[in-house]
């Protein structure tokens, strides 16, 4: 059964979620991955969107972080200050999803600017919730498409802490959450090296070579001693995911929300 790179990414991210996880969900692919997990192996996963919807069970994917669908299907909806204070800062979230325009070898992210901050070549949206999601959630899953311009040796701006510029900053700052434990791209899966916290390739998606990953990584990509091949999306997973996207497209009159 054929599938797209986005589908492979979504399925790989969904599989990493455990039943019972409390997820802080962003829009786009993370939203698709969390809801796929909820509709397959993790029915008791709890989704929190930063708009304040607790335990939401959307039937279609939101285009925005505050779609009415999220509120209508939520256990309850709280004010945004409460989301960040009682639920995120309170340490109740087990998994947070992040991405950005740039990521470095330690899983630090830039979603602020390309170029100089005061004279940016490209002004990006900025932190949003990311800066505190990165330190407040038990674990972070990063989902980004591979590319030499996005997987960079040196971030133009460090918006969001991964494992820090040396891989040791979390410990040095006294941060007890784990930070990026997983990076899913369209080419592979990376996890932090237990010693150095550098993100290393632990699994290649079907048909992807080490060479392809290296060509699309701005730093000298490292590989685990044994690199697995990612299990391709199962027919059941694809069926559920495609139904979700189809429902979403019908609801929004577009497929934009699907990625």
């Amino acid at each position: 059964m054929t599938y797209t790179a986005a589908e492979m990414m979504t399925v790989a991210a969904a599989r990493a979620l455990r039943d019972g996880d409390i997820c802080f969900v962003g829009i786009g692919l993370p939203s698709a991955a969390c809801n796929l997990a909820r509709l397959t192996h993790a029915p008791r996963i709890h989704l929190i969107y930063e708009s304040g919807t607790l335990g939401t069970r959307p039937d279609v994917l939101p285009l925005s972080i505050g779609d009415g669908e999220l509120c209508e299907t939520a256990l309850t909806t709280v004010a945004v200050p409460e989301v960040f204070r009682y639920w995120l800062q309170g340490g109740r979230i087990t998994v947070g999803f992040l991405g950005g325009a740039q990521v470095d070898r330690f899983g630090n992210l830039n979603s602020t600017v390309i170029g100089d901050y005061t004279k940016p070549k490209v002004r990006l949206p900025g932190s949003g919730g990311a800066t505190e999601i990165a330190t407040g959630c038990g674990e972070i899953f990063i989902v980004m498409r591979h590319g030499a311009r996005s997987f960079v040796k040196q971030l133009d701006f460090l918006t969001t802490l991964g494992h820090g510029r040396t891989g040791r900053e979390r410990r040095e700052l006294g941060i007890r959450t784990k930070g990026p434990v997983l990076l899913v791209s369209d080419l592979c899966i990376m996890r932090p090296d237990p010693e150095t916290s550098e993100m290393v390739v632990t699994s290649l998606h079907p048909g992807i070579t080490c060479r392809r990953v290296c060509e699309n990584t701005g730093w000298d990509a490292r590989f685990a001693q044994t690199v697995a091949e990612t299990e391709p999306p199962a027919a059941a997973e694809l069926e559920v995911l495609r139904d979700l996207h189809a429902r979403t497209a019908r609801a929004h009159g577009t497929a934009v929300a699907s990625e």
Partner: protein, 267 residues
């Protein structure tokens, strides 16, 4: 509190150079009020908003703002805010000073403003470069544990404008659904203006803990049906997602943007 029409509420409560917060977290974004501010030609505003969204893209593109305080400046699920980018990257239609925060910091700054505090304390910004580019971010040690906590000034805007579902005849306001930071923004501001879908005789049976802003905490209430479009009002109308997508094309070029504003807002 007084009931005013939209023109008079903006004329009376929004002045050139004011610090203005139009809040609404995806839901209940006060577009009608923002458009009225544009029509009345306000200038040199400091705009505060967690997610500038299309409304601030429009206000910035029309030259109402000299400064923006924000935490996420994109078109949700679509892409860039081209007018915001044009102002920051190329200074069009004028230079735009930015004060950039995280969502957590903005939410705390509104909460602290509502609570009458001079500043907000939270666990934030650890390991980020943002404190290097935003002088409003300081760190204070907890006197009991020594932990370094982030501290930002409370927001006390001159005026906050939010949109809500309904007001009763006394001018009390009921907000339901995704309430975002609207209550905090209204209570943090020196003057709070609320646009509503409708005025009702009474709110009737409701949760004892409904989110209600008492009339005496507000400056003005304005009846503005569909005042949140193309955002949405829970229980009244849905978000116009197609328009959010269409905006990407409209706002990409200065001329198409100006033409659209002329035809849809200024006329």
């Amino acid at each position: 509190m007084e009931f005013l029409n939209l023109h008079d509420a903006v004329a009376r409560h929004v002045k050139d150079g004011d610090q203005v917060a139009l809040e609404g977290f995806t839901h209940l974004i006060p577009f009608a009020a923002g458009h009225e501010i544009i029509r009345q030609g306000r200038r040199n505003l400091t705009l505060i908003r967690m997610t500038p969204d299309l409304i601030y893209d429009q206000m910035i593109g029309m030259g109402t703002a000299r400064k923006l305080m924000f935490s996420w400046g994109g078109n949700p699920g679509v892409g860039s805010l081209h007018r915001l980018r044009d102002a920051v990257e190329r200074g069009w239609p004028g230079p735009l000073e930015i004060v950039e925060h995280s969502h957590a910091a903005m939410a705390h700054a509104y909460e602290a403003g509502a609570a009458g505090m001079p500043c907000a304390f939270f666990r934030g910004y650890r390991g980020s470069d943002l404190p290097r580019v935003n002088g409003d971010i300081r760190f204070v040690a907890c006197p009991f544990t020594g932990e370094s906590l982030a501290c930002v000034p409370a927001f006390r805007p001159d005026v906050a404008i939010v949109h809500a579902q309904k007001a009763d005849r006394e001018g009390n306001v009921l907000i339901e659904g995704i309430v975002g930071v609207q209550k905090e923004a209204a209570l943090a501001a020196r003057r709070a203006v609320v646009t509503v879908e409708e005025v009702v005789d009474g709110f009737g049976p409701r949760s004892s803990n409904a989110v209600i802003l008492p009339a005496w905490a507000l400056s003005a209430v304005v009846v503005a049906p569909h005042g949140a479009r193309p955002s949405y009002a829970h229980g009244y109308y849905a978000r116009d997602n197609a328009f959010y997508i269409a905006w990407d094309e409209i706002a990409r070029e200065r001329q198409t943007f100006l033409a659209w504003m002329r035809d849809h807002v200024l006329r």
